[in-house]
Symmetry: C2
Subunit: 333 residues, 2 copies
């Protein structure tokens, strides 16, 4: 039985963490919720009684066994070590510590063993990377991944509740005039979060440019290598935001140490934990929203450069892409 | 001066053809409009006076010099030869004749020379293929394309006006409950055109399955080879429908006969007709709607398998992707 804290409890991922702890009847003896000063003092009804949200900046982390952090990289950097020093294991959903050598980066079901070797902090991978790792992991274990070319179709909730609000607002402002959308005479509804409108649009540059790739794309490259323990794997990434509320899709073409047939890939995927392979229907983001499993479809042998396998994976970015995996890591502890 | 007919004049592409003929002050002496019996008899105001829509099934094609067909493959197969026999050159926007050896497949600005060698029918390529060819063509001419891995982000107007109606309808039905979209408890708004809802969703299988790839994906493979006159080019395709009204985006990673640097690629693209390379901003479908040029962005050297170039191209699928290119072919005649 554990004393658990959710840090960033009022955000999109934090709320999902609470809901998943409740659904899975996580064996906890005490639940604490932390957020920024703005949300502090508000009360949240939980399965374990009403909990008052504490101010992260001033709270005392003593007595916490596991802290699930999802409050952004800056807050993780500022507060995670304080929690660790007070005795907690921090499962951090931000990118703050993911690439640090002494921080395990764990996709539950793919590299669970890595969770054992922590020094107080375990990192939760990026939501897009997580989704494709659920399919790439079992294939890599069997035939050794060499190269992956991936394009994402990422939902706005990957940017938190603000992303969902921005899409809702823009859809409301733009939907009454489909002709304007078709002829380029639409009025800009204003964007707070993204550079360009996401309503009725796609933004082929999720994240911020580092050089000619974005930080989000580099996560896909570097986290894939760390999770699969395959530092030589070549990953060619493109991260694109699409006007979907929840559910990150990712299309990948992969080549391995040897040729892989469709039948063999399907067999390897069928036995893997945490995924469902759909053959009859093609899984979409709407199908993935609200469920734990990552959905895999369009499994096919590459025609462009034979020997590989192309596929499509889609998962709830708030659940397996974030909150669920963090809770699963907590369960591994 | 030419006598021109638009066949399928009341559809999304047919209407755009008329608008483009007018905008470009196409030198025509007579304009005729044909559609199905349902639309026949309606009157359309044009720059060249009011034109009554004729019933394609019963009209007499005599005297037409150029017929721009966009009424679906079945009608092209049924009627194009009748028009040719009556003396017209048919520019066909359907897939009916694209892969026939004696039918040129022309992207204006990329392989104009092919238009000269027709036997009455010239085919207009698939809208997704057209968009990426505008960027791949100039690179191929300079350094020889070997391999292309492409994922599309295709708008609903690629399915005609019905696609736009379906997206509008579903957005109206689904937008009031973003929480339901986020938790998978949404009510299915009903789909007439697509297998699954396209509102707040992406469908990672545009077209109909032929084997493990769709007809739309095979077009990208086969039409690329024909347009570039490079039957050995390896193309790995994925075609995905996104909830956008107009504007097809396509992400491609390409490798050539030799390594290509980003600077060289940018130089080759800067001099190519019909495209704009955006460096500061990233072009989106909304930016492409209503304009003639294909917009190219995210030009970068591949990190996954060095030596190649990845980029993003987006174009108005009703204009360059269909109607504009058909009119440009007519201008080449």
């Amino acid at each position: 039985m554990k004393r658990v804290a959710i840090v960033g409890a009022t955000g999109a991922v934090g709320r999902t963490m609470l809901s998943i702890l409740q659904d899975r009847e996580f064996p906890l003896t005490e639940l604490r919720l932390m957020a920024s000063a703005r949300s502090a003092g508000s009360k949240v009804e939980t399965k374990w009684g009403e909990v008052e949200v504490e101010d992260l900046a001033t709270c005392d982390p003593s007595g916490i066994d596991i802290a699930l952090f999802s409050a952004g990289g800056a807050r993780s950097k500022a507060f995670a070590h304080k929690f660790v020093e007070a005795g907690a294991v921090v499962v951090d959903n931000s990118s703050a510590f993911r690439m640090e050598p002494n921080v395990p980066l764990v996709v539950a079901g793919v590299n669970d063993h890595a969770a054992g070797d922590h020094q107080g902090i375990i990192a939760n991978p990026n939501c897009t990377t997580m989704t494709i790792m659920m399919a790439a992991g079992p294939l890599h274990r069997a035939v050794g991944l060499n190269q992956m070319i991936a394009s994402s179709y990422q939902s706005v909730s990957g940017s938190g509740m603000q992303g969902m609000k921005e899409l809702s607002h823009q859809i409301d402002a733009m939907r009454d005039n489909p002709d304007a959308l078709a002829t380029g005479t639409w009025e800009d509804p204003g964007s707070g979060l993204y550079e360009r409108p996401i309503g009725f649009n796609v933004l082929p540059m999720a994240g911020s440019l580092v050089d000619t790739y974005t930080d989000e794309e580099w996560k896909l490259v570097n986290e894939t290598r760390k999770i699969l323990e395959a530092p030589e794997v070549a990953v060619e990434p493109l991260c694109v935001r699409v006007p979907v509320m929840v559910g990150h899709g990712i299309a990948a073409s992969m080549w391995f140490d040897r040729d892989l047939s469709r039948d063999e890939a399907l067999e390897l995927l069928a036995g893997a934990p945490g995924i469902q392979v759909w053959n009859e229907k093609t899984p979409t983001p709407l199908d993935s929203a609200g469920i734990d499993d990552v959905l895999v479809g369009r499994v096919r042998e590459t025609v462009g450069r034979p020997g590989g396998v192309s596929l499509w994976a889609v998962g709830d970015n708030l659940r397996k892409g974030a909150a669920l995996n963090a809770v699963q890591i907590a369960e591994l502890l």
